[in-house]
Symmetry: C2
Subunit: 337 residues, 2 copies
């Protein structure tokens, strides 16, 4: 472990995983925390609920397709939904830098309120702190969220065993969020019209769960992208996964920027994408259900589980070559969420 915090400690890759295991898991020790899920699944006085937290430090605060406020609501709603919970209540904690514009704050708050309404959650408790100029970068937001596990999601939330032959599905194109934020931040040598995919996926996800399809795993693809997420699940469940690169949806414009700048879209952050692992027999019904929702129109099968005794993630290219997708140390783009 390095002695000082580096940008990579916050970007979803290996460094962050080490920090989380060596410091947070080790000392806090609770079994739900150590699962490393998007939400903790808890018992409160005989009642089953999900609880999650996320801080947002995205730079810049406004970007094509969203802003830090929309991101804060969607990120927390999605973390609840992928665990099978119906998101109900959010908290909102603001850390404000002295000198930050109250008009901009209000724009962000309005955006949060709109997104909360769209997704059916209520912001019910909050906190405001102010630090002197130069002690924070404009505005940071923490949103924590609570949801309950509906009857129909009960067995999913138990996390079924993934088997050889199970199928991987995603609900649309990769990398849009990262490239939208980047293009707002950097003086790119070209025009970009790419918008962030930032969206609340709870209605999409619950349309699947309600049908009691044989879903085994879901995760929203944020920091670290698809490749990091698949490595996490491969290691946690000791499975091998193979994805087919020609089947991964990536917008031509995103692919172009990735080629120019040397990014791999498989590692780029998304804010409205979910990967779903489902038994092969239910795959086509999952696709059909996803496609009925605007946020799932481009849903597609991207790969499968190839072994129940491994930990590798392999990508097969258009010409049949295979490469190992490893977890990276850091990420190319810090402060993407």
């Amino acid at each position: 472990m390095n002695d000082y915090i580096r940008p990579g400690h916050g970007s979803g890759g290996k460094l962050m995983h080490e920090l989380i295991h060596d410091i947070f898991f080790r000392h806090f020790g609770h079994h739900e925390l150590k699962k490393g899920s998007d939400s903790a699944l808890l018992q409160s006085n005989g009642h089953r609920l999900a609880f999650t937290t996320d801080s947002f430090v995205v730079n810049p605060l406004f970007f094509p397709g969203g802003d830090i406020g929309k991101l804060a609501v969607c990120g927390t709603v999605n973390d609840l939904a992928v665990c099978g919970a119906i998101p109900q209540y959010l908290s909102a904690g603001f850390i404000l830098e002295e000198g930050f514009s109250i008009a901009e704050l209000e724009k962000i708050v309005i955006s949060m309120a709109r997104e909360a309404k769209n997704s059916g959650v209520n912001i019910v408790t909050g906190d405001t702190k102010v630090v002197h100029k130069g002690m924070a970068d404009k505005l940071f937001i923490n949103t924590s969220g609570i949801g309950y596990i509906p009857e129909y999601a009960g067995s999913f939330a138990n996390n079924r065993k993934i088997k050889k032959g199970d199928v991987l599905i995603i609900n649309g194109t990769l990398g849009d969020h990262a490239i939208a934020v980047l293009s707002e931040r950097e003086d790119l040598p070209f025009q970009s019209t790419i918008k962030s995919d930032c969206a609340c996926l709870n209605h999409l996800i619950h349309s699947l769960l309600e049908k009691k399809l044989h879903i085994k795993f879901m995760r929203d693809l944020t920091r670290g992208g698809l490749a990091t997420c698949l490595n996490e699940i491969a290691q946690a469940q000791a499975i091998d996964i193979e994805i087919n690169e020609t089947r991964i949806p990536v917008k031509a414009s995103v692919e172009g920027i990735c080629e120019t700048l040397g990014f791999d879209p498989l590692y780029l952050a998304n804010e409205g994408k979910v990967v779903i692992i489902v038994s092969a027999e239910d795959a086509s019904e999952v696709i059909e259900t996803l496609k009925a929702d605007d946020l799932g129109k481009e849903s597609t099968i991207i790969g499968k589980v190839t072994s129940e005794n491994g930990k590798k993630v392999i990508a097969e290219s258009a010409i049949g070559g295979k490469r190992l997708l490893q977890m990276r140390t850091g990420e190319q783009l810090p402060r993407i969420c």
Copy 2:
């Protein structure tokens, strides 16, 4: 409303109340949020729970009697307890500045784990973000918390009507936290051995609630101190309150520093103090119960409710003079929690 965020917007006084009402309450709009309680009291699938959030930006991170980690656990635990909830689960969101020492982070995490254990809560979910050097001041922590309302606290959590003759009680000396943090921060022209009172009050508070005493209101005295808290309750319930300054416990050393620097201990932040409003007939049993706990040894009656038709907070001095305690615009000491 001023156009830009000022330090006073985060310090518990009038400016912060304006910001909260004009921006957050207005756009988020939920009735529980607008109550401005320490926790939101919610229904989740037929189950009653409390939910709260707090971000911590205290400077410095370590001070006599505590550190930002202990503060983060105690602050959130106390916000749940004063609403009658049994604190159960906490989240922990970290915003780290590049270059921050991992050894210091670990010290803070160990302190959080210890305090969580002492108070009987579990840290079950977390998040880590990193920003570049100069974009935050070392470390900020958000802790959000969930608790359930036990049977015996049911009627208290409904917030009984406060009446003329009701009695005000606090559990010990005022201003210790603010002065402890200040003395660590500033080059004071004198020595100070004052420790922060930072403590989790949930066991103390539930020893009262279990006895079903006629408690009408409780709040932990943080930013803005006793005077701000009493103004909030006087305005919310349209009552007049009178406190007796000679009865307010303040350590001689804290009083000395306050006199030198021109602070009023009634407005200074505390992190282990609660004000309790109780019917006169139950006051002595409340005092007795509080004194049985180490955190309540110096509990005392400090004043009473003098009218059910007003909004004023009056302090009577040793020689019988009376002064109006108003809500201040900002606070003397920013980043105290």
